[in-house]
Symmetry: C2
Subunit: 405 residues, 2 copies
């Protein structure tokens, strides 16, 4: 009997009517002969309210207590959905993270799943009972409640799918699949039937926030077939699968953009060994993630060092750079938060030359200046001025032949 | 080092400011050199919202799922209060029912506490950490979440106080103690300094709803000294203690009233053996609690049988009586929901004659007709027409010399 995990996000369980809707969707899968586990998020808005309370009391709160408070959102939904399922004749029960248990490390507030014992769940599902699991939460050492960080319910669902050896993990969300780019910017964007884990990872990391990155990593490692689909429409979504399952590999599968980075330039950095280590060592110490880095060639013994960081890290980064200014010996620090990172992603890139060049040409034709470039095996990213974001995305979507006919 | 349990109800933790207030009160007890455990209810309104959701989905819901949903209210408060305490420098941590664990039976929705292991809590308190315990909840067999029923946090607090051998269990509430009667009816009502468990039980059972009855029973059985006091004013409350601790025993300690009963009279019941057993056996079968019962002497082979039940049980009782009408052979069933039960309570009654007579005389002077009488060792109750409630309470308060000077 096929076994599937279904995951519903906050907007899909926002009120009682939507919870009843979810129950009907689950019933359909049960009636079709599947063994089903369901992972639920908190009703939309619930988590924000809980987080706001915690932060109002103490913005430097104990993360273990934050977790005890915030995990209640998913607990409520799990119980309500179990009741809604029973009401329409589907045997069901709720499972909290500590009941499974879904064991995590002790990084409260952003814990990582260490281990899920699938056996009790499998036994329950094989007896014909739908398991309704509170997502986003687990059991940390010392029997404390842990949460997985924002979007963690996706990861809960994938971990559960791996633990119960599910045939598929369906992630129901408010979009109906993964598109070649953001349809709000490019109406001609096409829904992808399939996408590889690697591509999904690159897209997620550059701002296509449909799936939490860790859930994709986990799916890739555990070879869990993930489907992203709409909770409101009854149409097939996009399958996130192993590259081998994709017969026709596109050179470029999608165009992504991110506006959450800021650019920092250190002017007149002395061109001597160890300077880069000083700068990026200090930033790492302060927990500032650095993304793109470029260093121009040296002129008269100094150089300019440019890099990007998350916008939210900006105050921390500026404080850190001020501390090491004398040690580094740079003249000024230029900060530009008005930048966007545009990326083209595709596994077919590995065997095709000229992909980057198509990008540079398309941007040049629109007179868009490229500030920083970075590449990976299946991705080319550029940093541009934020005001050109939509123009650049549209130009690239057309240049790579992705527009729907 | 003295050890105390403090319990705060829903109105005392209704918002963040009140939670901060509670933290200050707890800090004061810690600063005074006490080891402290705190039991909290849900923020007022939270439980009602959760119950409403559950009932809207299915009014015949699975009680285990109801418990999973509803227990979140207390979980939220426990985490928030722990954070508020840490913020003002008081080491604290939250404990959920399953973490202690507070083991209960499997009567989900109204579970009874079976066992609390005090050892881990004592160790934690002795290390200087305030234990913030989510009230109202426990761990049922099968590792499911259980709730104790409305007002259950009082019982949680008393059970915890017994388990950690606390010197006192302080119940903070929106009144500042136990009064000789309802001060809204009798402005001259006096606050009692001390009251015995037995009196408190009688008062609670006839409508003075300050403490949950089960919490008083438990306190009596475990000899836990309970104090009822205000969370908003800083004045001593009322101690609920063993009778032996009360030196000056009042003949009558308080006057209570209840308007939640209905009177039923079965007319012309054949006066033969087994009839009462048929009637009350059937009602017991249908889970209808019968309170007062009177049977008039027989006239011409039939009698009238009058008794009272909880108003909410009325539809179920009427259906049950209709079913057995032929078997019993009564003529009609008269129902009167407009009745009130007035009770005078006092342990001194045991050694004083004439207490009931004072009551009957005082009511007669106000021309209040007594419909039913019932007595216990320390209580005399009468049923009267509901419209005389306030008049009767005031007359009795004066008649027993309880008015403040």
């Amino acid at each position: 009997m096929p076994r599937i995990v279904m995951k519903f996000g906050g907007t899909s369980v926002a009120d009682l009517d939507r919870i009843r809707n979810v129950a009907q969707r689950v019933k359909r899968e049960v009636d079709a002969g599947n063994q089903v586990a369901v992972v639920v998020s908190a009703m939309s808005g619930a988590t924000n309210q809980l987080v706001a309370w915690v932060n109002a009391l103490d913005d430097l709160h104990d993360a273990r207590e934050y977790d005890a408070v915030v995990a209640t959102g998913e607990q409520v939904t799990s119980g309500l959905l179990a009741i809604a399922l029973q009401k329409i004749g589907v045997p069901a029960r709720s499972w909290q993270g500590w009941q499974l248990p879904m064991r995590t490390d002790d990084a409260h507030g952003k814990a990582r799943i260490l281990e899920v014992d699938g056996a009790p769940m499998i036994a329950s599902m094989e007896s014909g009972q739908v398991a309704v699991v509170a997502g986003f939460q687990g059991l940390a050492p010392g029997d404390r409640i842990a949460t997985l960080g924002r979007g963690g319910s996706d990861t809960s669902a994938v971990a559960l799918a791996a633990a119960v050896k599910a045939d598929r993990c369906d992630i129901y969300t408010d979009v109906d699949g993964i598109y070649t780019t953001d349809p709000r910017i490019v109406p001609a964007a096409k829904k992808l039937q399939k996408i590889s884990y690697e591509e999904m990872l690159e897209l997620a990391s550059v701002g296509a926030k449909v799936l939490q990155i860790r859930s994709v990593e986990l799916a890739m490692n555990e070879r869990v077939r993930v489907q992203v689909l709409s909770s409101f429409q009854d149409i097939p979504g996009t399958l996130v699968v192993d590259e081998d399952e994709i017969v026709e590999k596109e050179v470029v599968s999608g165009i992504a953009y991110a506006r959450d980075e800021a650019k920092i330039t250190l002017r007149n950095v002395p061109d001597r060994p160890g300077v880069a280590a000083t700068i990026f060592g200090k930033l790492a110490e302060e927990n500032v993630n650095v993304d793109m880095i470029v260093q121009n060639i040296s002129a008269e013994g100094t150089t300019d060092m440019t890099f990007t960081i998350g916008k939210t890290d900006l105050p921390r980064a500026q404080a850190a750079l001020a501390e090491i200014k004398e040690q580094v010996g740079n003249s000024e620090v230029l900060v530009d938060p008005n930048v966007a990172k545009i990326s083209v992603v595709g596994v077919g890139m590995r065997s095709h030359a000229g992909v980057a060049n198509t990008m540079f040409k398309a941007l040049a034709e629109k007179s868009i200046n490229i500030q920083v470039i970075s590449t990976s095996e299946i991705k080319v990213s550029v940093l541009i001025s934020a005001e050109y974001t939509e123009l650049a995305v549209r130009a690239l979507h057309t240049a790579y032949g992705l527009d729907a006919h």
